[in-house]
């Protein structure tokens, strides 16, 4: 008898939920057609320095990022400089910083199709070669562009930085990591010109709705925090669409990743994939960490 009652309750609950969902679907059309935009928060740590102090604009150590808006789109991007250049006396943060700064400029001046962020990377790469000062170095690049009217994000990823799109506590879209082999991501370089041109960036597009959360980060973030942990932070901290909330979430995620990176016993995602590749490793991965959190919000809901 009890099970029937339980069953009945379950069914009733399901029906109610169903009706509720239906009701939600039937909300007035005006909400469906509104343009969306991103409320962003940003946090990160650079490897050599103890605590994040923004030493230079747009960088955390050898990571660089940008956030830009133009008439049509909101665009965010990260680039992770390859540290190996340090052995040759080249500052690895120069290339990613220039790449991101040029992307920001291209977006702000409205020169490019927001639906093709791979073209933003390509154009930025071409512009870097136009500089008088010879630039050396290489980096990954990952850009997410929200076309406000279309309510769609367009993404391009080259290398092992990446993004997640979280909706209702689940990851509904993510980037594909591009690596040659373990710990050697695809990368863009100017001098010498890399075998990987910007056209190998992987592109995708995805329709988003109000409430979606995009987490864009370098491998320092995703190698130290598993997706579940990130989801946990998002659902517990991201209660509304205020900028302070988004910022707080970004900071707490980056902080946690930073702490865990120095934990020698923690089985980080990095350690797990090392083991898959046949290398016995435990612990986190000390690295530059960059995390951009963006909440997709109806434009009219924008709070001052």
């Amino acid at each position: 008898m009890q099970s029937v009652a339980l069953y009945g309750r379950l069914v009733a609950r399901a029906i109610v939920a169903g009706i509720h969902n239906e009701f939600q679907l039937k909300t007035p059309a005006r909400d469906q057609k509104q343009p969306l935009h991103l409320v962003t928060g940003l946090s990160g740590f650079s490897k050599p320095v103890a605590k994040n102090s923004v030493l230079k604009k747009w960088t955390f150590g050898d990571d660089a990022y940008f956030i830009a808006r133009n008439k049509v789109a909101d665009v965010i991007g990260v680039a992770d400089g390859v540290g190996g250049w340090r052995n040759y006396g080249i500052d690895p943060s120069l290339f990613p910083r220039q790449l991101m700064a040029t992307c920001e400029r291209l977006v702000q001046e409205g020169h490019l199709e927001p639906q093709a962020p791979a073209s933003i990377i390509a154009a930025s790469y071409e512009e870097l070669q136009q500089q008088k000062d010879p630039l050396m170095g290489s980096s990954t690049a990952c850009i997410v562009s929200l076309h406000r009217e279309e309510r769609t994000i367009y993404t391009a990823n080259l290398g092992d930085s990446g993004f997640l799109v979280v909706r209702d506590g689940e990851v509904v879209h993510r980037s594909m990591e591009q690596q040659h082999y373990f710990n050697t991501p695809y990368q863009l370089a100017v001098a010498p010109p890399s075998q990987e041109g910007p056209d190998i960036a992987e592109s995708s597009s995805f329709k988003v709705v109000d409430g979606d959360v995009i987490i864009l980060g370098t491998d320092g973030l995703f190698d130290n925090l598993s997706e579940d942990m990130i989801l946990g932070y998002v659902s517990s901290t991201m209660k509304d669409n205020h900028e302070e909330t988004v910022q707080k979430t970004a900071s707490s995620i980056a902080e946690k990743a930073y702490q865990l990176s120095f934990d020698p016993d923690y089985m980080s995602p990095f350690a797990l994939s090392a083991i898959d590749a046949g290398i016995q490793l435990t612990g986190g991965k000390p690295d530059d960490i960059t995390c951009i959190m963006a909440r997709v919000t109806n434009q009219s809901d924008f709070c001052l």
Partner: protein, 570 residues
């Protein structure tokens, strides 16, 4: 309340026009500042045609660099600076009778989204300031006369170039008050005194929406003054030349014709035209063909038109050099008029300059090829309608010695065809400018060096396919011993071997540019300066192997060499 909300929303969504409201926006006479919307025309730019870095388009928009001082990619930079191009082997001879007040070398035109009565024009100069010599303005929507098609350009300010302290500044000279609102500004520059490239960040136009009150009040008085002074004039019968009346001493007539012509040879075109209106005798002398062997209409670009050309054409029977650069912008010039004009010189024309002429197209080239078979020099730079069809016409000009196709749409393949066809003359090629020719390969350079041993000037800056490892630069030094100017700008592979080859073979070298290579050491560079005794220009900007201290030392040790080391202060 509504304005407040609008302003808040505007600032949140990001104002694209970059407007800065000075005071309460409601008042129409308050001064507002707006930055440039779009660069519509320019004579040259350092950056590539499809790129943002160092390109003329950077002049539009809000400030990106100021107050920093240095060589930044976000700046608007022109192609040349200083005296260097004028002393290179390829420099064209200056025109006689060019008024000394005309010194403009480059121009750039910038539109604004709103029409304002200008109060000030603020130009942000962020590297080697002091090149701006003239500011003009117009209303590009309705500034053209419907009848004559002439655009009314008014000069707001002009002054000869002056040495300026080397730091960033906002240049805002006193400008003339005018009685109509403008939405387009033209800057003319002369960078002869600049130590390195002059670079501009942005331009702010400060003005009011309504004309200044003072102007409308005093203009009535001014009209009254003019009318009363006109009324007081009497026609003076005294005429120095006389017209056959015996009472007056006909002094001018007594001078031999050669003396009169000698006096007139010092006059520029404007003065000659005015003098010709005084009396018949002087008109006959002023129309003498020998005064019009060279005609430079570039300083008069605002007046050059079909009507002007038709009027001048009968004087131009012995015209050898014609400069119509920049003409055709303020008043229309048509191919028909040019057809009539070019028939006059009867094939004596040897030099024709049509730089930045908007009317020049493939048809124009057909006319040129038909009427001017003796042409030795042709400048078609920045004529954007000229494409590879025109290249076919160029093949008919068998006597060509100097050809400038900068920023035309003729592709590299057509140029190669043209050079190959004029094959017999190719071996005597003296100067070649292949700046930013991205398809130029090592074997092309080798072929050029092997065949054109008389080469004196070669510019292969930003030709990114050339690699020092192929030996093409060493080969160039060995084969072209007459080399006077060599620009290897931004070729990242130039190394010590190349410099040592130049030091050994290129003893006549006067100008050398190796900007942006990491592979060069200061010892090799110093060897070039020691051996090439005629060297006067050496650009080692952004060469990591050569420090500022070394450059300072060189400036003392080799004072005849102008060593350039550009920089960015980040």
């Amino acid at each position: 309340m509504a304005e407040d909300l609008a302003r808040v929303v505007g600032s949140i969504l990001g104002s694209d026009s970059g407007r800065d409201v000075q005071e309460d926006e409601v008042s129409e006479s308050s001064v507002i500042k707006i930055c440039g919307q779009e660069v519509t025309d320019f004579s040259s730019q350092y950056g590539g045609e499809t790129r943002l870095s160092y390109s003329a388009a950077n002049l539009a928009g809000k400030t990106n660099i100021y107050p920093s001082y240095g060589d930044y990619t976000q700046a608007c930079v022109f192609r040349t600076y200083g005296p260097w191009w004028k002393i290179a082997p390829s420099a064209p001879k200056p025109y006689i009778k060019t008024p000394s007040s005309f010194c403009s070398e480059d121009y750039i035109e910038l539109t604004f989204e709103e029409k304002l009565y200008p109060v000030a024009v603020k130009i942000y100069e962020t590297y080697n300031p002091g090149a701006i010599v003239k500011i003009l303005a117009t209303d590009y929507h309705s500034g053209s006369s419907v009848d004559t098609g002439k655009t009314r350009w008014v000069t707001l300010w002009s002054s000869p170039p002056a040495e300026t302290p080397q730091r960033s500044r906002i240049f805002s000279p006193p400008i003339k008050k005018i009685d109509f609102p403008i939405n387009m500004v033209r800057l003319e520059l002369c960078h002869a005194l600049c130590d390195y490239y002059t670079e501009l960040d942005c331009v702010l136009l400060c003005g009011t929406r309504m004309g200044p009150e003072s102007l409308t009040d005093s203009s009535g008085d001014q009209v009254q003054d003019v009318v009363s002074s006109l009324k007081s004039l009497t026609v003076d019968d005294y005429c120095a030349c006389g017209d056959g009346d015996g009472d007056y001493p006909r002094l001018f007539e007594r001078l031999p014709g050669e003396v009169i012509l000698l006096i007139l040879s010092y006059f520029d075109i404007t003065s000659l035209c005015r003098l010709a209106q005084t009396c018949r005798l002087l008109r006959d002398y002023c129309y003498d063909h020998l005064l019009y062997t060279e005609l430079n209409l570039q300083p008069l670009w605002q007046q050059a038109s079909d009507v002007a050309l038709d009027g001048l054409s009968m004087r131009c029977r012995h015209l050898q050099r014609l400069n119509l650069s920049w003409c055709g912008k303020a008043a229309p010039i048509t191919n028909d008029c040019l057809d009539r004009f070019l028939q006059e010189p009867k094939a004596e024309l040897t030099c024709l300059q049509l730089s930045c002429c908007p009317f020049v197209n493939n048809e124009t080239l057909r006319l040129i090829a038909t009427h001017c078979p003796e042409l030795k020099e042709l400048d078609l730079s920045s004529c954007e309608q000229v494409d590879k069809v025109a290249a076919l016409q160029l093949l008919l000009l068998r006597k060509l010695e100097r050809l400038n196709l900068y920023r035309t749409k003729i592709d590299i393949h057509s140029i190669v065809c043209v050079i190959r066809e004029l094959g017999t003359h190719c071996r005597k090629l003296r100067t070649l400018d292949m700046w930013r020719a991205r398809s130029l390969q090592d074997d092309g350079l080798v072929h050029l060096a092997n065949n054109c041993s008389q080469l004196e000037e070669l510019d292969v800056g930003w030709c990114t396919e050339l690699r020092s490892q192929s030996g093409c630069f060493v080969n160039l030094a060995e084969k072209c011993k007459n080399l006077k100017k060599l620009f290897l700008t931004a070729n990242r592979t130039v190394c010590d071997l190349d410099l040592l080859a130049l030091a050994k073979h290129s003893l006549h070298l006067q100008q050398l540019d190796i900007l942006g290579t990491r592979e060069v050491s200061s010892q090799a560079a110093e060897r070039v300066m020691a051996n090439c005794k005629e060297l006067v220009f050496f650009d080692v900007s952004f060469c990591a192997g050569i420090t500022d201290a070394t450059v300072e030392h060189w400036k003392k040790q080799y004072p005849h060499v102008s060593v350039k080391k550009s920089f960015q202060h980040s």
